[in-house]
Symmetry: C2
Subunit: 163 residues, 2 copies
């Protein structure tokens, strides 16, 4: 079980590590909104981490509804990944300093001096990807591979796809 989890984590890490921007979809007053997020510079270990600002609207949305989707689109390699998870705002200076990388200055010019700099953590519950170079919508169903890296929190087990 633990081996399978590690294998899934490694696979998802391989898929997303070169995608620099992901789209984060949240539920906002009943509608779905997405926005670009700079992806992490370190290996994925089961949780996705994003730097964000406490002044953005999405932090409010996540406080109201923690269910999110993170999609990674890499048209050049025809790789598309859907990650389903539960988001959480983490305002922990030690963790912020641990994960900080100067590359994030492109998005946060003040870096660690920015008092609004916080982390958004997404605990990954399910992931699917499409990586066939000639992937067609008809084939997609057959190509869907699911990576389950944790237990679903909402009891919707009937839709859980397991390796």
């Amino acid at each position: 079980m633990e081996d399978k989890r590690q294998e899934s984590i490694q696979k998802l890490n391989d898929l997303i590590k070169d995608v620099k921007v992901a789209m984060l979809t949240t539920i906002d007053w009943g509608i779905l909104r997405s926005r670009p997020m700079q992806t992490q510079e370190f290996d994925f270990d089961g949780d996705l981490w994003f730097f964000t600002s406490s002044e953005t609207h999405k932090t409010e949305e996540i406080e109201k509804d923690r269910r999110v989707n993170v999609s990674y689109a890499a048209p050049d390699s025809n790789t598309y990944v859907s990650v389903t998870g539960t988001a959480e705002i983490v305002n922990d200076r030690a963790k912020i300093e641990e994960l900080w990388n100067p590359i994030y200055k492109a998005w946060f010019p003040d870096g660690l001096e920015d008092p609004n700099l916080i982390l958004l953590k997404v605990a990954v519950e399910q992931a699917e990807y499409w990586d066939s170079p000639s992937s067609t919508l008809v084939q997609v169903a057959g190509f869907v591979k699911a990576i389950v890296t944790g237990e679903r929190a909402d009891g919707g087990e009937n839709r859980k796809i397991s390796l």
Copy 2:
């Protein structure tokens, strides 16, 4: 009002016309899932149209919950678009034939002969985009531009961003 709607439609068309694959996020038993969709080859007129197969799982999801998000990510031009809308499955042969383009054969090899070929229509209610080359998360809020091309169906007016 009609002029503004036309202007918004034109702007959104300009933003998305070169993005070949979008990610469609749906609500599936309470969780958010996304998948790649080949985008339309014709101009956007207020509704987004996608070819799909009646045998895919997303058609069931949309029948249960019509709220969707369509995200367009174009890393090369650093353009990211979020479209919020209401989806509908359209199984209308005349419309299918009208919108069909041989380029879709890459995804649907049997083309118009495929009995499962159907359309997914997304009535666009709201769109936001980020197109600054040096777009940062801090700046993003200021750069958000909203394109409202229709009325919201769920009454969540307090979050509606209007031009």
